[in-house]
Symmetry: C2
Subunit: 435 residues, 2 copies
Amino acid sequence: MKLEDVILVSVDDHVIEPRGAFDRHMPEKYKGHQPKVENLKGRDVWVFDGEATGYMGLNSVVGRPKEEYGMEPLGYEQMRQGTWDVKARVDDMNANGVLGSVCFPTFPGFAGQRFQMSKDKKLSLAAIQAYNDWHLHDWSNAAPGRFIPLMLIPWWDGKAAADEVVRMARQGVHAVSFSDNPALHGYPSIHDPHWEPFWKACSDNKVMICCHIGTGVKPEHASDLSPIDAWITSMPMSISNSAADWLWAPMWKKYPDLRMTLSESGIGWIPYLLERADFTHRHHHAWTNSNFNGLKPSDVFRKHIMSCFIEDEFGLKNLDAIGEDMVAFETDYPHSDCTWPESAETFWSQCQGLTDEQINKITHLNVMREYSYDPFSILGRENCTVGALRKLAEHVDTSPALGMGGAAPKRDPSKPVTSGDINRMFSEADANTAL
Amino acid sequence: MKLEDVILVSVDDHVIEPRGAFDRHMPEKYKGHQPKVENLKGRDVWVFDGEATGYMGLNSVVGRPKEEYGMEPLGYEQMRQGTWDVKARVDDMNANGVLGSVCFPTFPGFAGQRFQMSKDKKLSLAAIQAYNDWHLHDWSNAAPGRFIPLMLIPWWDGKAAADEVVRMARQGVHAVSFSDNPALHGYPSIHDPHWEPFWKACSDNKVMICCHIGTGVKPEHASDLSPIDAWITSMPMSISNSAADWLWAPMWKKYPDLRMTLSESGIGWIPYLLERADFTHRHHHAWTNSNFNGLKPSDVFRKHIMSCFIEDEFGLKNLDAIGEDMVAFETDYPHSDCTWPESAETFWSQCQGLTDEQINKITHLNVMREYSYDPFSILGRENCTVGALRKLAEHVDTSPALGMGGAAPKRDPSKPVTSGDINRMFSEADANTAL
């Protein structure tokens, strides 16, 4: 296989909701109450239900020179257009050689946490549904075959969650973004019967449950003085606590077709987790009463739980210890870990020990099967390769700084950027934009 | 090599302090104020500075039938004698084929956290020093060549910490138990100049800094309803957050001879962490200002940071990706992960891809070098092997339940034991033994 023949589908990217995303999808009753962008003290912020979200773009730094990376985008003009404009996004995907993409929300939180916290549950449900409708019709369907649409659900009512799954699945949406640990947000844990209708709806409608890092377990800052690099390093693995929790959760026995993805998890640590889980079951089940009906926790993982990688040479070298049928590729566009516009080359440099069949599985076949995604019938397989897509992108300017405006942070290059620096920046932004 | 020729040194075991451990080591001024065991409502508890520690043994379940595992030991009579009696401990080490052992404290917390929380700092320092003197003279020196003594230090004063390191190093102690993240206990973070005298003292005196899981970052219970197995599974890896923090900490540049151990870390996840750390440095240093003087974070790890394993087939298979010079063996006696009395066989079944040189390094040579431990000059190398030690243990009864008394927990075998069950047990014990 050559690089230009690879077909890349990414299960973890992010969309910055454009201004006005909710305007035409909010029901008549709530017109005027939809989430909207306001400019507060020079900063574009989303306002909903009387509260402002201080940071709109988080680390949406794709296309900047690396010296300017950080959490600073203050508004739309300081982000690359592909972060929020769907046509520019497709251009950027083409330039990166990427066919398909799962795009997580930004302002609502990766799993719609923002909408779970409001007191007005009817308004919140309307906003969730408006989000889902925008995401499907205005974002994903603007470029048929190029996106795997992703829905949000209400957490406070298992039946309402199931209803939303059914409503969206009927329109072809087969992925839902969900917290890796709702108990940490004050909602019932994944072991609670509260979620039973949700599991059933996902299983019945073949909907993939996508749990992005940071939606439950928080990647912790070790201390204020810790260089931010330490936090970046341990961030993906922070989901290992939840991965273990899902391994022992009760829904897999009842719903053999149910699937989840650990989104932005990395993969190189998974073999250790699986061995440790199997050890735990073998060594401790006599007193913990754990019971896998003769199977092992690693069997549950390999059947039900997908993991994904941006760069992960060690994980790819040990693909057999993870399971080649449930690993997927991601680019994390437009966040700072993204290797755009060279994600294809990065992957290619790490997959040289794999067979063509393994490469096809982890780049697209696993995702097409598990996310019910069929781009070939729309676009033709020959038009889906890295080589074919890049031909469409010859007009795309990928040089650094394009469209960034003047948001470059000023930093003293002799001092490490610390967790405290980043946390203070967030606190100041929240204080500055409090309504 | 044959199993009987292997020489096993464990860098992570635990001692239950025997009744009266502090009595003869507390200075005259504080006689009567030393930590002591009292029996409260049928439970042996340690009392110090007006507060009782509800659980004395945690999961000190070695020697019990597995059905009876848990956190329940209520007193000395319900634990195997080897947990607290040094002669019985050596018998149990012999039966397990283990030559040498680093024993972490129990009642003081693995890193002496209990002593950092008291208001009376002079009394606390006296208790720390009494602990160190007991641990060296009464525990370790009771069996020359069989223990690697481990000291505690005061955290509230960097100079006092350094002084205690020097005092104990002069008596031959070359390991100190320290928190993997003191900032989480309200003390300065490892990036703070507060610790400068401590780093210097450890480097000057070749003292290994041992950071046991649970002494800083807490392995989190995902939810009350989560089976306790999930917590057990992700527990060792919980230290990965701190491992990343130490990678970016400032002391390595200044003290090339300084070393630390991630105690009870497991090793199979380390290659992922190192690759991720190197990616973070390469991909982000332009804005985070991280600087390794041309080296990589993984170089720092392989030189300065030791990790260890109980069972870890995947890690041992990938020893080259971790670094064979800084990996060590552990048994975790007497905790529930321990495979006593078959730890030697467990290791042997997992090391078959390794060379004799590699086996010798990870079973004892690395530890002898980095912990300044020289059992051969005392005992003769030929008397240190699994085969030789087991010959000394023919009288040791290793059959389950020996000496356990009637502490078996009553559990419904149809229900999983949850995090909530375990946490409630601790809360009740604390409430029942409040002074």
